[in-house]
Symmetry: C2
Subunit: 251 residues, 2 copies
C-alpha cells in the first residue's frame, strides 16, 4: 500500500488531508481514484490505513479506517554521522541507509572531506536530502521519517554524542588489525529503544587524530569486517549488521 | 597496499610480470617507482607481497617477497543470482557486492526483468561487469576475483542450483509475513567452505510462480527483514548478514 508522511495538523480523528507533492503523486503518478487505499503516517511514526474519499486539484481527502499495529522500524535508533563525501554520494547513502532503517543523518566536516558545504548552500542540500529520505522511507514502508541534522564539525559531533546511550566509529585501521568482535559485543549490550551514534568517515577514511579524539570521548572503534568498504557501502553494511542482530537473529 | 590480479602464466617462483591496464595503472595512475610495494594475486586467490623492480612502457616486473597468510574472503561462497535489473544497476550491484564478499554473479532473466540482454550484447556486458568486479576486488582488498557467469533463464538457474550445498531466495512476500528466522537458521547450518546460491529478484520482485518453482526445487524462501529493500540494496544487505554471521559474530 502506498504510504505518505503527512503533517500532524492535517490529521483529524476521522480523516487526513493530503496536499502539495503528495497530492500530486496520488493524482498524477499513482493515478488513484476514490476508495483506493493508502497509508498515512504522522510525525510520531503512527500509521493509519485510509481510503481516499475526494480528489481535488491540490488536495486529497482520505478517511481513516484503522491503525497499523506492526512496526517495520529497527528496535534501536541508529543515527548515522557521515563524513561529508564527494559529489552525490550523500544522496545514495541517505536513500539506501533509509531503506535499511537509519533513524537520522548527521553530516560532518571530516579532515579528509574533499567536498565542503558552504553555509549558503546548506539549506538547499538538507532540503534535497530530506526529500530523498522521505521517498526512500515511503518506498521501504518505514513509519519513521529520518531527519537530516545540520552539519557539524568534529568537536560539535563529540558534544552531540553526549545525548546517546552508545557511540561507535567504523574504523578501517581496526579492521586491518582483525578486531571484529567489538561491534557484536556492543550490540549484545544494547537494549531495544536505546540510541546509537555511529560515525563513518568520508572517502579517505578518518585520520588517526580524529579516531583518537573520538575514542578519548567514549566512541568505540569498531571494524566492519576483513574487506575494505567504500564509505557508501559501509553505512549500508553497518545498518544491515544491526538489522541482522536485532531483527533476524534475535527476533 | 595496491593489489593486482595477475594471470597465472605471468608468475614465476621469484617474480611477476604485470602488463596491460594494470601496468598502465602502476605507471600512470599510481605513479609508482622501483622498490614500491604491491600485492599480486593469482587465480587461486593466493596473494604475494612484491617489490617493483623495473617499469617499462607496457610491462612492470616485480620481485616476490612473501606470501600473504591472512584471508579477507568470506568463509562461505555466496553466488548471487540477480534478476536482471534496469539501466546500470547491475554495475552498482557488482561493485558493492564484490566489496561485501560475493563469490560470483549469475545474471538471470526474471519474469519482471524489464531490461533484456540481447545475445549479441552479452559478451560486452559481461566484459564490463568483469572489469567492475576486478576494480572493486582490488579496492576492497579481496584475494578472489568474482566471476560473472553467462545469463540464464529460470530453468537453467534451477538446474545450476544442483551444484550448491544451500539455495535460497530473498522473497519480499515472506518478509511481509514476518518470517525472518529462515535466513539465520540456514546460516547456522552452513559450514565454512560450503556454497550458497542466493536468488534476488529484479525491481518488481519475483512473481509468485517463480518463487513457487524455486521453492519446489529446494530453494528456501527467506525474508531479509521488515523493510522493503530495493533490489540493489537487497544484495548488499544479504552479503552483510552473511558477513556479520560468519566474520563478526562467530569470529
Amino acid at each position: 500500500m502506498q504510504r505518505y508522511f503527512v503533517p500532524d495538523n492535517q490529521f483529524t480523528n476521522s480523516e487526513v488531508q493530503i496536499t502539495g507533492d503528495d497530492a500530486h503523486h496520488i493524482r498524477r503518478v499513482m493515478r488513484m481514484s476514490e476508495s483506493d487505499p493508502i497509508l498515512c503516517v504522522n510525525s510520531h511514526g503512527e500509521g493509519y490505513r485510509c481510503l481516499i474519499q475526494k480528489i481535488e486539484e491540490h488536495k486529497v481527502t482520505a478517511v481513516i479506517c484503522s491503525r497499523l499495529e506492526e512496526s517495520p522500524e529497527l528496535p534501536v535508533q541508529l543515527v548515522l554521522a557521515q563524513g561529508i563525501p564527494k559529489g552525490d554520494k550523500f544522496d545514495t547513502i541517505v536513500q539506501k541507509a533509509t531503506e535499511c532503517g537509519a533513524y537520522a543523518f548527521l553530516p560532518f566536516h571530516a579532515a579528509r572531506s574533499i567536498a565542503s558545504w558552504p553555509s549558503d548552500k546548506v539549506a538547499k542540500k538538507l532540503a534535497r536530502l530530506h526529500r530523498i529520505a522521505k521517498e526512500a522511507a515511503e518506498q521501504s514502508h518505514r513509519l519513521h521519517l529520518p531527519e537530516i541534522y545540520q552539519p557539524m564539525d568534529l568537536q560539535e559531533l563529540i558534544a552531540f554524542g553526549n545525548n546517546f546511550d552508545w557511540k561507535m566509529v567504523a574504523y578501517e585501521e581496526t579492521a586491518k588489525q582483525g578486531e571484529q568482535k567489538r561491534l557484536p559485543t556492543l550490540l549484545q549490550q544494547m537494549r531495544a529503544g536505546e540510541r546509537l551514534l555511529a560515525v563513518i568517515g568520508p572517502e579517505g577514511g578518518l585520520t588517526a587524530d580524529e579516531a583518537a579524539s573520538l575514542e578519548a570521548n567514549g566512541f568505540v572503534l569498531c571494524g566492519l569486517g576483513p574487506r575494505i568498504l567504500r564509505t557508501e557501502t559501509a553505512s549500508i553494511s553497518l545498518l544491515s549488521f544491526v538489522s541482522y542482530h536485532f531483527e533476524l537473529l534475535n527476533e
